[in-house]
Amino acid sequence: MKGYSVELKDLVKVYGGEHGDPRVGAVNGINLGIHPGEFFTLLGPSGCGKTTTLRLVGGFETPTSGEVYIEGQAMSHVPPYNRPVNTVFQNYALFPHLTVAQNVAFGLAIKRVDKKEQERRVQEALEMVRLPDVGKRKPAQLSGGQQQRVALARALINEPSVLLLDEPLGALDLKLRKAMQIELKQLQKEVGITFIYVTHDQEEALTMSDRIAVMAEGSIIQVGDPVGIYEQPATRFVANFIGESNFIEGVLGGTGSDGAVVEVGAERALIRPDAEPWPAGTEVTVCVRPEKLMLYPPATECNGLSGTVREVIYIGTDTEFVVELANGVRAVARLQNIDGRGLGEFAVGDAVRVGWAMWDAHTLED
């Protein structure tokens, strides 16, 4: 337990079960360790239990079973305001009747901190979020992005050791969201505290996080850094939820020095060998990202499979080629539009070879 900023042990949260309501598992046994100073993201579609997990850490929900530890302390019987935690809400939750400064000072005022001290710290917090001059305004007079920063200042002024953020950028438009992503990440580095960030936006998660936990149906499917999550998704769900993927079913052959062999119909191709390889003859699903696929003329000698181009979709930066493989699976290859590559070279109906580097294809767990 030691060394973790936040640790979740067999955490379970079940709703209902009273008055004959069906019991609904929101969180089904989560184990997780989050390091101090880490930017940790809970990523998943809506209803996957990520917000519930966050609320369990914040103390707004009590676990049905299991335990939340913050800095080594069991938190089950600690109310939200006694946890070294603060929360930034998706819709900011600023008090509309108070000025920005009063909002930020709210926690200090409750703790009856000296007025002068309050003023100083409010100014400090507002400067930290780069809004030094808005103290006298009401929240409604600020833009969405500014309100979000005020919410951040209000949380940070209480000097939590863990900050919980529940889709804090969800209500902002795309451009502002991107700018805020970078700023949030910088801010997190400056203050050096643990951020637990909940989002359903995979790009946001990849951009900001040190580590990501991908959740589905109340469970954690995969934990890893952005590169690991994207390059080696463990399951079909992760591969599909984060980016796009091609899934090619095949049968595992032997593993040689130059990679593992997978047999797809009558063809064979090389993929990255698993750390603990399954025995030969196992049916596996191979996952390859569309941008890792290359297209070659049919006779080319390369690692890959043969197929026929069925669709060509021009999407600006790239062109997508939908290729029907020999076993009937449709694979998508995305080629960047550089130097006429792909585009113009292959047309609907052409026979092609779909090639990839051995490292870019791997088997999934399911």
Partner: protein
Amino acid sequence: MAVRPVAADAGPKPVFKRPSLRERIKSSRTAWLYIAPAALIMLFVTLFPYIYQLFMAFTDYRVRNLRFNLLNPETWARYAPPFVGLDNFVRILTNQLTIENYDFWRLLLFNITWTVANIVFHVALGVLIALVLNSKTVLLRRVYRALFVLPWAMPGYVAALTWRNMYDDRFGAINQLFGVINRLIGTSFPTDTRWFVISEPPIGGLLSFLPLAFYAVLLANIWLGWPFMSVVATGALQSIPKELYEAASIDGASGWQQLRKVTLPLIRPAMVPAIMLGTIWTFNQFSVIYFISQGNPFGRTEILITQAYKLVAEQRLYGVAAAFSIVVFFILLSFTLINNRVTRATEAYDV
């Protein structure tokens, strides 16, 4: 700020000229056609009586003048009420009316006390019960909510007559209730209280101008009035996002602090207009006073509007009553204007 003309030959004149009234009527002819029936009815049912009342207020309009008919010139000379200028108003304000126990300033003081006492209880009780029923742990809260709106949904005079019967000194439920209590726990409350006859004030000192009857009608009107405040408060409470409470609780605010710093300021924008409306209703709460206490004892629970009614019903002083109503109107108008200025009732928070 230079306005650049759009058309080349438009010259320096503004490009968009406000259309003349005739042009505007012409362009909205269909709209006028649609509102004409309603406007016509409003003209005769609402606007004309107002204007006619204003006219009456400056005349000595009595029973014989009822024969005065604007459409029949033969009645004009004979039955036109004599114009008396501000005389009616002077008589009202200087207590020169031939009516029992009449004192305008005492009436006004009582009317204001009546209104303030009611509103305080309506709001306090309404908000309190709305808060209690807003907590999810209360069982059957939907049932309660439905029940509590009943007094408000009931016609005022029906409720008032029911209360009148409950206060009956011999057969009324309230005196009987005291009898039951006496039997059950051996107390000796009086069981024949004559609620609207006793003239000694139950509370002395500053409040000695309020007879027992005041507290009786107050109780009835509290019962009648708080559900409205409760409904408004419930609506306002339910529109407060729960994140605000979570945010406050993270910062260590106790339940009481959350109530004071979050709940009350946030229901205020909804409550202020409701209070203004409630004040006007209560100030003119005719049916409760007229049917329950009937102004007894000795006109000491009379309010302005019931007094105005008696001027017509008992004295047939139509002109004075019209003037009376105009006085009431201006009292309420000035209250509303001042209140609007002070509380900025129209100001709302963007949540």
